[in-house]
């Protein structure tokens, strides 16, 4: 997830920015002067490889986001056949400068061994962690993940790249005295392009929900012993969401929908005293599922499975039935239920939509009639199912839409690490004159 990798990268760079007297820090393990120089040179080579990994991520991330960034300051070109993100915009210049810096460097990107073996030196270790985060962030912002970015999310990403680039430029200047250190190509241009880009995107409204996107490990059912009480319900609900990955038959979907109605209805009073608003949301959820259940009465279809999901749903209901009615659900557990409910609601809506599109779910014909003109000795019963048509079954479509949240999602906070990096970029070391004197 980009939230984790981006956060780690910014935190480590902020820690590096707060480190001064670098030569001293790099040579502290070797008191002998000759050894110290060799150590610093080796550390410099490793740090340049780490820097190259970070630069590569920056260059590729900005390229992924660039088509979605439209300058808030520049007027649109008079020629309608020219797009507003042509070369000359801040982000275009940043992309060019980053590509130049990456290609001009003679260092290679850090190998897997360099990225994974911890270093005893504090400075190198911070670089390693930052580079590791950058390597992992490629999963989150490039390729398929980059193709799903929205324009406000792309603004947030480019803002992050600009801040990271600024950090690299500042560190590049600070590390000049390290033996064998290779400067970034056009560091001044790179720094100014990063500053202009940061200013440009800050005029828009960056969407920090990008932190919730990117690669995630595959979820699996909880491999723990069955929990007791309300946690057992939470466990079964989690496993239900995992098993819902497989497409259920219409009958099993009805059972799952029924279980969700019962769960929401029984859980709402338990959370009433700690969060009345959430209790109301869960009652509304129960009502939505009751409506959907009513609409699914006339829906059939044997394609799919969903047996394990039904088993988990049944477990959740039976465990909740064993929980005393006066139990108070603590806010953290309630938030866990809410997350799972949101996931299940979304998945159920997807399943019904997919079922209609694929023809896996069918409409039951109300009363079968004999087909008398079939030309056979025995008149067969007319087909008992017909494809579901969205324009006819508007009530089913509305019931499914009722599961999805209608309110716009709340804006996501930018997170602490961004402000930490920004303050590290402009911080000044405490002057000797400011320190207390005897």
């Amino acid at each position: 997830m980009y939230g984790e990798t981006g956060d780690l990268m910014r935190t480590e760079l902020a820690a590096l920015l707060r480190q001064h007297r670098i030569l001293h820090r790099l040579g502290e393990h070797s008191p002998a002067a000759a050894d110290a120089v060799a150590d610093r040179e080796a550390a410099g080579i490793a740090m340049q490889q780490y820097r190259q990994t970070i630069l590569s991520w920056c260059a590729e991330a900005v390229m992924a986001a660039k088509p979605l960034i439209f300058s808030a300051t520049l007027p649109a070109p008079a020629n309608p056949f020219k797009t507003a993100n042509e070369p000359g915009t801040a982000v275009g210049e940043l992309a060019r400068a980053l590509r130049l810096a990456r290609d001009a460097s003679t260092s290679r990107r850090a190998t897997t061994a360099l990225l994974t073996i911890p270093s005893p030196n504090e400075v190198v270790e911070h670089w390693r962690q930052a580079a590791r985060a950058a390597a992992l962030a490629e999963h989150d912002t490039n390729g398929a993940a980059g193709a799903r970015l929205t324009s406000p999310q792309a603004q947030a990403l480019v803002g992050d790249v600009a801040a990271v680039t600024q950090a690299l430029v500042v560190l590049d200047q600070r590390y000049l005295n390290i033996p064998g250190w290779e400067r970034l190509a056009e560091p001044g241009r790179l720094g100014w392009a990063a500053l202009a880009t940061a200013l440009d995107v800050s005029l828009g409204q960056p969407d920090y929900s990008i932190d919730n996107t990117g690669w995630r490990p595959r979820t699996h059912e909880l491999r723990i012993s069955p929990q007791k009480g309300i946690l057992g319900v939470l466990q079964a609900e989690h496993d239900l969401l995992v098993w819902l990955k497989s497409f259920p038959t219409a009958m099993n979907l009805r059972l799952i929908v029924d279980s969700q109605q019962r769960l929401s209805r029984r859980l709402a009073p338990m959370v009433e005293r700690t969060d009345a608003c959430r209790a109301e949301t869960w009652r509304a959820r129960a009502a939505s599922y009751a409506l959907l259940k009513q609409q699914l009465r006339n829906v059939g279809g044997r394609i799919g499975n969903g047996g394990p999901a039904v088993a988990e749903a049944s477990k959740a209901v039976s465990r909740l039935r064993a929980v005393p009615a006066d139990t108070i659900v603590e806010p953290r557990v309630a938030a866990g239920f809410q997350t799972l409910f949101d996931g299940i609601d979304q998945r159920v809506a997807e399943i019904v939509d997919t079922g209609i599109d694929r023809g896996a779910y069918l409409q039951r014909v109300q009363v079968p009639r004999l087909v008398t003109a079939a030309g056979q000795m025995v008149s067969p019963v007319r087909e008992r199912f017909m494809p579901l048509d969205r324009s006819v079954n508007t009530e089913l479509v509305d019931a499914v839409r009722g599961l999805l949240p209608r309110d716009p999602a709340e804006p996501v906070a930018p997170g602490l690490s961004r402000s930490v990096l920004h303050s590290a970029l402009i911080h000044r070391p405490a002057a000797a004159a400011d320190s207390p004197q005897i």
Partner: protein
Amino acid sequence: MDLEHALRLAQARSFVAALADAAVDDDVSAAFESVLVELDWLHGDESPGLDTDGLSEDRNVLYLAATAAIEALALFGLDALDLELILVRLEAARALDRL
């Protein structure tokens, strides 16, 4: 499935669905819904559609009609024990409904 069987099943489903719609609260409604699901399960989900329009609003009448329709399904080769279990569930839902 014979036409007569399909008609009986459609009636039974319609009456049980009407009972679920007219139930005093959601828990009772869910209990009647589970009877409906059981009926469909018994028929391999090949049940005909239901229609609750125009049915009586008297829950006692609906209950008696649903019981009669489910009992009549025994004529079409269904296992009597399965039908009896469905009737027990229907009875339990009725008890919840304070009929």
